[in-house]
């Protein structure tokens, strides 16, 4: 990792995307050549994290929901509050009380899956955002794209759905020539891309910033004359401040990701655009 490499060299190596390309734990189990590339067989840290997050989410909420007490204990209360938050503010209030119930498991699982994976960036000794791996995010965005389009097509039919998503109501005449491709682009093509990039880029940039403050501060303190030490300490103070800010961003990104999912579903179910 770059922490080691920075200590070795005299020159400061700024953090780069390579810092996110973690090698398999223990070097992997082996490798083979295919398509002119070397493929390493192994398990990387974010892979473990994503599984761990899923297990944690399930374990927490299974334990919280299992008792079904009329007067909830602490754990059940927390679980119910968390569930009620997603169910009501992300599900019912956005999708509408008529249809929302069948999307609640999806939204609920998604929110806490993303949230826990984001928190991985702050949890000590893990400190790596799972969703700074773009592939992890692409699949979720792809899934939400499939879901909201499928929901819309199922409700309105193929033609009806694309008409709903592409032809803005209350607009007629030649302006449609301009608007229809734009609407189609923004509602069908661009959405999954922005959905994925928003989450990925936030996690990626946030972690990059943290690495920069941590390594920069360390470099100044270790490899520079003592006079620069206050700057290094300032960098570490900022590191802490940014780390706290990151917690907020982690929550917000999980919230926005699920909020947009709910809004896309709502838009696909809507009768009039």
């Amino acid at each position: 990792m770059s922490l080691v490499s920075t200590l070795k060299g005299e020159e400061f190596t700024p953090p780069s995307p390579a810092d996110f390309d973690l090698p398999p734990i223990g070097g992997g189990f082996g490798s083979f050549d295919l398509f002119g590339q070397t493929w390493v067989v192994g398990v990387t840290k974010p892979m473990i994290q994503i599984v761990l997050a899923a297990i944690l989410v399930f374990a927490l909420f299974y334990l919280a929901s299992r008792k079904r007490a009329m007067v909830p204990g602490k754990l059940q209360f927390v679980g119910e509050e968390a569930y009620g938050f997603v169910r009501n503010s992300l599900g019912r209030d956005i999708i509408g009380s008529h249809d929302f119930q069948r999307f609640v498991p999806y939204l609920f699982a998604l929110f806490f899956f993303v949230l826990f994976n984001n928190f991985m960036a702050t949890i000590p000794f893990i400190q790596f955002p799972t969703f700074s791996r773009s592939g992890m995010v692409y699949s979720l965005a792809l899934m939400s794209w499939v879901i909201y389009n499928a929901v819309g097509i199922k409700k309105h039919g193929f033609v009806g759905y694309f008409k709903l998503q592409s032809v803005p109501s209350g607009v007629g005449g030649p302006i449609l020539v301009l608007l229809v491709p734009l609407e189609f682009m923004s509602n069908i093509l661009v959405r999954p891309v922005t959905l994925a990039l928003r989450l990925f880029a936030n996690m990626f940039a946030g972690h990059l910033l943290l690495i920069l403050f941590a390594l920069g501060g360390e470099y100044i303190l270790v490899h520079q004359p003592l006079g620069y030490a206050p700057v290094g300490i300032l960098a570490w103070v900022l590191f802490i401040a940014v780390a706290l800010l990151e917690v907020l961003i982690q929550f917000l990104q999980a919230y926005v990701f699920v909020l947009l999912n709910a809004m896309y579903i709502q838009g696909a179910l809507a009768d009039e655009h």
Binding site: D21, V43, Y83, P105, R133, G135, M136
Partner: protein
Amino acid sequence: MHTLIAPLVVRAAEEGEELNPLLPHLVEIVLSLVVFGILFFAIKKFVVPNFEATYTERTKAIEGGLAAAETKQAEADAKLAELEKQLADARHEAARIREEAREQGAVIIAEMREQAQAEAGRIVEHGKTQIEAERQQAVTSLRAEVGSLATTLAGRIVGESLDDDARQSRVVERFLADLEAGTPGQN
């Protein structure tokens, strides 16, 4: 954990070449999808039904409690209205009875007074009659007595010689003594 294929773009970071973080690793796409899929089904099957059931049961319990309370309240209200009605009836009844009693009392008093006056009148009348009768009797008997006395006295007076004052006075004294002894005409 299962062995997964991690296609680390093979040290494509071969010194100097930048990695593009936007290029995904296929295995990560698949892994993320599979893990979330499993989580989704587990949540859907084991967690959401529990929460929903708890909500429903709690709502029911609360609504049941409210309904029971409403029934109780309605019952209490009905009871209260009934009692109030009874109370009003009782008050009304009492007032009626009091009024009746007053009327009856007035009637009784009037009757009594009338009776008493009648009685008093009768007694007075009776007294008057008796007094009159006694007076009449007294007058009658007195008249008879006075006559007899006068006759007796006259007889005596006439029987004696009236030329002597001493004798005269003796006769009168004897008469009076006879009167006192209650045996007139003796001697």
